[in-house]
Symmetry: C2
Subunit: 140 residues, 2 copies
């Protein structure tokens, strides 16, 4: 069971912004910090702007920042957004689906999974801010 | 977030066997019932035999069956086996991993997910046995 790469990178972008709440960050610096593709991050940042997690300021001195405090961004809410509505299994392609009890069990299990993540905020997972700043190659 | 295709098919094989506890089944009939590749199922059945979920009887009148009652096969235990130990996110490739709080939160969430699935057995998810038998193209 894997989260999508999309979720993985969305969390990383938000973590980077949470480590630097006092300034605007560039997509290039985030791509460099995690050694991932700038183009790929660009799409993710656009989505995070549209979804209200990130604010973008244009211009030569522009950049991106969190649009609300890290303590107000719940990881469960974020993961529900980035993972979307696709099911855990390919029940739609399975002939047994109409009488099968697996989907109900998986739905309940997924609810428990997300409930735990709703107990964590972006601030919680970036509590070691100085250490994260050092790892990401920029002073926190 | 998706379960692997491997888990998906392993559950389907066990469901088919649970619907027909009174006789041996063939891999060919299971492949036909779900319209999936016989070769792919062969590997999964071998693994399920090695893991103690399925018993195989050789010979012209041979076939496969559950090696223990469906009520004694917990879905959580099965999914832990088929999904293996790979993490939910690519933390191993992430520079921030040593100071990041996400892995801990994901581990806790995954525990809650599996705990729910441990509350269901193969018998629970195949309770509508007659309907499943009809859907799978063979009388239950």
């Amino acid at each position: 069971m894997r989260l999508t790469r999309y979720t993985d990178y969305a969390v990383r972008v938000l973590m980077h912004l949470a480590v630097h709440p006092e300034r605007l960050c560039s997509i290039g610096e985030i791509a460099d910090a995690y050694a991932v593709s700038r183009n790929h991050l660009m799409k993710i940042v656009n989505d995070l702007v549209n979804a209200g997690y990130v604010a973008s300021e244009r211009g030569r001195l522009g950049g991106i920042r969190l649009s609300r405090p890290a303590a107000e961004i719940r990881i469960g809410e974020l993961v529900r957004h980035t993972e979307g509505e696709a099911g855990l299994a390919e029940c739609g392609a399975c002939i047994a689906a109409p009488a099968c009890g697996l989907a109900g069990a998986l739905g309940e299990a997924l609810g428990a999974f997300m409930a735990v993540l709703d107990g964590y905020t972006l601030a919680d997972i970036t509590r070691r801010r100085a250490a994260l700043g050092a790892l990401l190659g920029t002073a926190a």
